[in-house]
Amino acid sequence: MTPLRERSKLSRPRVAPTLARSLLPVAGIIVFAVLLQAALKPWLETVSGGDFYAKVLLDIGINVTLAVSLTIVNGFTGQFSIGHAAFMAVGGYTAAGIVYYGSMFAFGSAEVVGGSLSTMGDNHAGPLFRSGDLIFCISLIVGGIVAAICGFLVGLPSLRLKGDYLAIVTLGFGEIVRVLIQQSRDVSYDLEEMKQAPLVGLAQLFTQKHDDWQAPVWARLGGPLGFSGLPFYTSLFWAFLVAGITLLVAIRLKRSTFGRAFLSIREDEVASEAMGVNTTSYKVWAFVISAFFAGVAGALFAHETGIQLSAQELGFQKSFDIIIMVVLGGMGSISGAAIAAAAITILPELLRDPTKLVGWQPQIIALTILAAIVAGAFRLGGRRATPLWATALAGLSLVAITWLGYGAVKVAAATGHPLDIRLGNYRMIIFALSLILMMILRPQGLLGVREIWDKSFWNKRRPAPAAASPPPQTPAPEGTVSINKKFEPDIDPGHTGIPPSTDSD
């Protein structure tokens, strides 16, 4: 049989389709992101409550990036990291420092100097990009790289540690990052004063008195109060560009020989190593790639409208939020993580008090989506096959109950005995309950390890092919005595004096 090396030399894929497969998705992502920013956003501004929906959309983009990047560590290689928000914080603060102080030095103030693709404001005229966008773009990449370096440092202990122990290391890393950021100095708003600030080393920073103003620029990250005064560059364009690229990278990795190496580590580390996978190096790579995208997401988060970047915001609560998305979507499933990230971002928002929103009833929509998810879990629900009609019935009855409840409230209000049920107050309870229900019905998450585009996902209940059944057992040949189903195969050349032993050593 031809060895792989020679065979790959012989394999000549056609150039045009390969290039198309390589580049078209990238072009598609860019077009999609531009359309969101240039077409959807102006339309949303004309709708009542549109700003709110645009913000939710922005959050979806960032959360998809986070969930998919965490999938690379937790889902692919099976290393349990619970410090993902720390990588976000590292990337976010790095980017914030670059953009804020970079803008101060370049433009004299930290105003947004962005084109129409990079703001959530309503300037749709003007150039697509301006000089501020360049700084922002650089900050995204540098933020990612600094986070990736931290990912490398955290990945190192994962060589020796597994499961809970590794989780504690990542938790510790998260706390270190949080505390360090909280120890940083106030943000400087004065350009002249900033220009005089010396660029001192790390040691000098810690030996100086805390109220000393003469701290280096890079140590002025706002401390416990948070980094205020940041320009809001993050737009639907940037958020979905990054989310799209993260998805693309994760999908291409998973489908490649490297993705199989990652997954094999999760499945069985000993066998993986024995098959020639350098498990050490792949585990560190997983951390590095994952941390890079978390850092970029953090940079987007830092420059998002309505966000005050602070270490508190990026504590382990945030890490757990991301883990919930990954677990709910299915450990190892990219599409699952993305869907779960979107759902988890939308649902708590929609369950909020509707009086703050104008127009339609978002809570009803939210409950309908929840019902659909629960029904979907029934349908997919692993061990016992649930027929389609039962799934549909379960889903429809949940929707019906929701609408009946809604109707009851309406009727009660109309008859002059208003029922004072504020669904918004119970939103986290409803949300948590549906998560519990989900875990009971489908502990492996929505999609398990598979992807929504996998063939096996859609026809998993097909009958096993005939070849899957074991070959019929042939009766023991003449003259062979079989006791206790312990077969003596007829290749036995005769009595050897050595009894067969079936146990292991």
């Binding site: 390969t18 499945e267 020639g276 996978v277 195969p489 007829d490 036995d492």
Partner: protein, 263 residues
């Protein structure tokens, strides 16, 4: 015949337990040898030492003139030594095809950046991996099952898949740890023929651990017998069958004749 795997006075202790003592082995190209012994004799420990799961206390292992003693398992696999596991260790959630494709990983030469960019080379290699994996699955006619999750396969097929996955690493020497365990007589017969066939088709050198004496005696040219970590006999199947030490190791010492106790 030139020697391809040479093991010289290999020893390993776990605390006070001498799991393997002074184990030596010489496999010539295209040899098919057996390693037998009662439970707890240290057969699997020998495999774990050869494949780098454990580091030997003393001794050297030479694979095709390359010293592989103390290397990490992935390096040893890359050098051309592959194995199957006694307690099946497939990647259960992955498909049958992906299990085999993972075996090809060690021979692939692409970079992660190439995979992310979908480069021409990456595409060519993925096509080659797919073709090769399908061809290898054909060895045991597992192709109809290629989309199934490995854990859903029946026991015999899981054992066969383990062999296919090991073959995908393009080994020079293949170590089989109880390949026939849990198979019925018909399957064992087919397996015996298949192991011989594999050796000829892939130019393999095979060392197998097996408790099924029929299988071992039938296909092995030379057998090494271990007991309590020590090599008690080496020889052809005929010699082993009549070796008193081997019989003693398996059946215990002959009862002293009646009355000898009283005397």
């Amino acid at each position: 015949m030139p020697s391809i795997l040479r093991v010289q006075s290999l020893s390993k202790s776990f605390g006070g337990l001498k799991a393997v003592q002074d184990f030596s082995l010489d496999l010539a190209e295209k040899d098919l040898q057996g390693l037998i012994g009662p439970n707890g004799a240290g057969k699997t420990t020998v495999f774990n030492l050869l494949t780098g799961v454990y580091k030997p206390d003393t001794g050297t292992i030479t694979l095709d003139k390359q010293n592989i003693t103390g290397l990490r398992p992935s390096k040893i696999a890359a050098a051309g030594l592959s194995r199957t596991f006694q307690n099946i260790r497939l990647f259960g959630e992955l498909s049958v095809l992906d299990n085999v494709r993972l075996g090809c990983h060690v021979r692939s030469g692409g970079t992660m950046a190439g995979a992310i960019a979908h480069s021409m080379f990456n595409r060519a290699e993925e096509q080659a991996i797919l073709a090769r994996a399908r061809e290898l699955l054909g060895v045991f006619n597992l192709n109809p099952l290629e989309d199934d999750q490995a854990r859903n396969l029946c026991y015999g097929d899981q054992r066969r898949l383990e062999i296919v996955r090991a073959l995908a690493t393009e080994p020079k020497v293949l170590l089989l740890d109880e390949p026939a365990a849990g198979m019925n007589p018909q399957e064992k017969k087919e397996l015996a023929a298949a192991i011989r066939g594999l050796r000829d088709r892939f130019n393999l050198t095979i060392l197998l651990i097996e408790h099924d004496m029929g299988l071992v005696m039938e296909i092995c040219e030379k057998i090494t017998v271990l007991d309590y970590g020590e090599t008690i006999a080496v020889g052809t199947p005929k010699e082993i069958q009549t070796n008193p030490k081997v019989i003693e190791a398996y059946l215990g010492e002959a009862e002293p004749p009646e009355g000898s106790k009283a005397a």
